[in-house]
């Protein structure tokens, strides 16, 4: 299901050989495509891999509230099959919004813990259980060892792990540069919403930065937020200006 053309088939062959040697991922990796050709083309396998850990965080103020990242995660979880386990310690998620991103309230089971360690323990337990569509964990710190545990649990069961990183303070968010065992790492920042011919707020738009992707390249996309089924849509790339004035203005790319 590789949709993107490789410069040569040799690299693909080599990758397969390496995958065989690694053993753990001998099973053919399955992916959940975004349904947007440009994004899927950038991701190895043509989508977000099942049985892997993916990290999401907000940008700017979103590092603390993680509001856009939560919706992005909900949209991805909505497109999987089965129940979703959502582990959290700060219960400020507003369920109607999650439902508007396509995730029906009957499908989500919330696990609320007082301590960060308990959230991680529930996260890992959910991943190891197998049979869930996806497991979401709202976590602050994700050290290498912890992320490797989560990644291994996900690999074993084939469940997708979605780590939603949110920090207590915006300054703590530089922690997001630390390496972890996750397969992809995303940053979702809010952009001014779609222009409407009349006054009002249009479809929200996000800047989705693929900051890290194992065996893939980094990329950034300007997307329209999840619709009622959890699907994103691509907008033409943003025209960045050097000055702050033009940042945040919307130009149709020529």
């Amino acid at each position: 299901m590789r949709t993107h053309a490789r410069p040569s088939g040799i690299i693909d062959e080599l990758r397969e050989q390496i995958a065989k040697l690694e053993g753990g991922s001998a099973r053919k990796a399955e992916c959940l495509p975004f349904g947007v050709a440009e994004i899927d083309a950038k991701l190895p396998g043509g989508g977000l891999a099942f049985g892997a850990l993916h990290e999401f965080a907000g940008g700017g103020a979103g590092t603390v509230d993680g509001s856009a990242a939560a919706l992005m995660v909900a949209g991805i979880a909505a497109r999987t099959k089965g129940k979703i386990l959502w582990c959290l310690s700060r219960p400020d998620l507003f369920a109607p919004a999650i439902s508007q991103a396509g995730l029906h309230p009957d499908r989500v089971i919330y696990v609320e813990a007082d301590k960060e360690e308990d959230v991680l323990a529930s996260f890992e337990e959910g991943l190891a259980f197998g049979g869930l569509g996806a497991v979401v964990g709202e976590i602050v710190r994700l050290p290498m060892v912890t992320s490797r545990r989560l990644q291994l649990a996900a690999e074993k069961s084939g469940t997708m792990g979605l780590a939603l990183r949110r920090w207590r303070r915006q300054t703590e968010a530089n922690d997001y540069g630390q390496p972890t065992a996750s397969v992809t790492r995303w940053r979702i920042s809010q952009l001014p919403s779609e222009d409407l011919p009349v006054g009002g707020v249009g479809r929200p738009r996000w800047l989705a930065e693929l900051m890290r992707s194992r065996a893939g390249e980094c990329a950034e996309f300007c997307v329209g937020a999840c619709d009622g089924k959890g699907h994103l849509s691509l907008f033409p790339p943003m025209a960045y200006g050097q000055d702050q004035e033009s940042r945040g203005r919307w130009h149709t790319a020529s």
């Binding site: 400020d92 507003f94 919004a97 999650i98 309230p105 089971i109 529930s122 919403s193 707020v201 929200p204």
Partner: protein
């Protein structure tokens, strides 16, 4: 109303309600005298067998509800070992007051006390006027010294004999030299005193009824290692499941009771969301918390009891070729729930007020298929408490131009609204005229907020006209 008991041909009052007590009737009074004092007295014959049966029923209910170790305490009381179980009810105070209130709800006037020892709790519950008492740890001596000696669970003849000697309170009795007392009344007095002060252990032998399925395993040589405990728990679970299978039951709540060589009891309780008879799952739940067991000098007996069992229906598995298999997530829910995590689903409530539009339901409650209306955008984060903001706006019906929140001033570029939410006067009188106008606003950076004004902007009876931020959109 009084209750009359018979012994031979003698009829005496053995219980009287508040109204009867106000009229001067006392327990122990001859029935004929009571009748003479009050003309139209309602008299009932005592039914000791029925009382005992009712107490037994209550004990079984307590066993399910409060603690794995419950026993009868005389003919008129129950004793519970609530150590390690009170936090589930919100602490000792809340547990006791809740217990008394729930019993009052079914027409039982109860008194309750928590103390370090069975003897002290027995005495304080019966002889203090408060409905419930919590004696602080190591405060037993202070609490019981002033109490009369009737609370000591001694035979009536012994009590009378002590009274003749001029001993009325526990304090006086404990100050007496022990040897002459034992010579005169036997070892019972000293033993009860020691039990009261916790110098001698007094294990509670938990009640069991015929319906309760339980298995136990004594050890000739005390065990202590975690692996050994796990091994025997596994065997007990297999036995228990076989027992349950013959009765067609599944476990909802299982207690592992650990008897240590020093005559103390510990319990591990595992709850399940649905009746289960799967030995692997049960073993996992019980061994998950094996580190909570303190084996001390060794464990001489393990018993496993299905305190709460429900009929379990066998279901035919649908073929995976035809239908998609639906994965049952109850095992996961049980594991997480027994670790003390709050686990729930969020279900819609038909209310326009955002903070009332959802409620938590059990994770395995019935799937309703109901969803929230999707015609209005909703923020992904909702503040538990709306935060006040300062705004500048021109017209009462337009979104604000600027807002200052947490010290940061933002210029609003786009806005949508108002979405008017009316107060729910059927819930609270104060909400009769209350109105909130919600706006979606977006600042220059593209951050979107859910703000509202308390009131409609014109009429001050509808609200204070102050502005609040209630959520953040994604």
């Amino acid at each position: 109303m009084v209750v009359i008991s018979r012994s031979g041909s003698k009829r005496t009052v053995c219980a009287a309600d508040d109204a009867a007590r106000k009229l001067g009737l006392r327990v122990g009074m001859p029935a004929s005298k009571a009748q003479a004092l009050v003309a139209d007295l309602a008299m009932y014959d005592a039914d000791p067998v029925g009382d005992l049966a009712a107490l037994d029923k209550m004990a079984l209910w307590m066993l399910r509800q409060y603690s794995p170790v419950v026993a009868m305490d005389g003919a008129d009381g129950l004793v519970l070992d609530t150590e390690g179980a009170d936090h589930l009810q919100g602490g000792e105070e809340l547990m006791l007051s809740g217990m008394v209130n729930r019993l009052r709800g079914v027409g039982v006037t109860a008194r309750a006390a928590v103390a370090d020892t069975w003897g002290a709790a027995h005495a304080i519950a019966r002889l203090t006027s408060a409905e419930w008492t919590v004696v602080p740890v190591a405060g037993t001596a202070k609490a019981v010294l002033g109490l009369p000696i009737v609370c000591l669970r001694l035979a009536p003849e012994t009590i009378n004999g002590l009274r003749v000697l001029g001993i009325d309170t526990v304090g006086q009795l404990s100050a007496m030299p022990r040897a002459p007392l034992t010579l005169r009344f036997g070892p019972e007095v000293g033993r009860r005193l020691d039990q009261l002060f916790g110098r001698v252990a007094e294990p509670i032998d938990p009640i069991r009824s015929l319906e309760i399925v339980g298995v136990s395993r004594p050890f000739s040589e005390p065990i202590g290692a975690a692996e050994t405990i796990a091994k025997y728990v596994g065997r007990l679970v297999v036995q228990l499941c076989a027992e349950l299978e013959t009765r067609g039951l599944g476990v909802r709540r299982a207690d592992l009771i650990v008897h240590r060589v020093d005559n103390t009891i510990q319990a591990v309780r595992a709850g399940l969301a649905k009746p289960v008879r799967d030995d692997k799952r049960l073993t996992r739940l019980l061994t998950d918390r094996i580190e909570k067991i303190d084996p001390g000098f060794g464990i001489e007996k393990l018993s496993l009891v299905a305190v709460w069992a429900e009929p379990l229906e066998e279901k035919q598995q649908s073929s995976s070729l035809i239908e998609e298999t639906v994965v049952d997530v109850t095992p996961l829910v049980d594991v997480l729930g027994n670790r003390g995590q709050r686990i729930y689903r969020i279900a819609p409530v038909s209310s326009d007020v955002p903070e009332r539009s959802f409620r938590r339901v059990g994770p395995m409650s019935k799937e309703t298929g109901i969803d929230w209306p999707t015609n209005w955008p909703r923020p992904s984060r909702l503040f538990a408490k709306p935060e006040e903001i300062e705004v500048m706006n021109v017209l009462p019906d337009s979104p604000p131009r600027t807002m200052t929140w947490r010290g940061k001033r933002r210029r609003i570029v786009r806005g949508d609204g108002p979405e008017r939410v009316f107060g729910e006067w059927w819930l609270r009188d104060a909400e009769l005229h209350a109105v909130r106008d919600y706006y979606v606003v977006e600042d220059e950076g593209g951050e979107r907020f859910w703000v509202y004004r308390a009131g409609d902007g014109v009429d001050t009876t509808t609200g204070s006209h102050r502005w609040f931020i209630h959520g953040i959109f994604g």
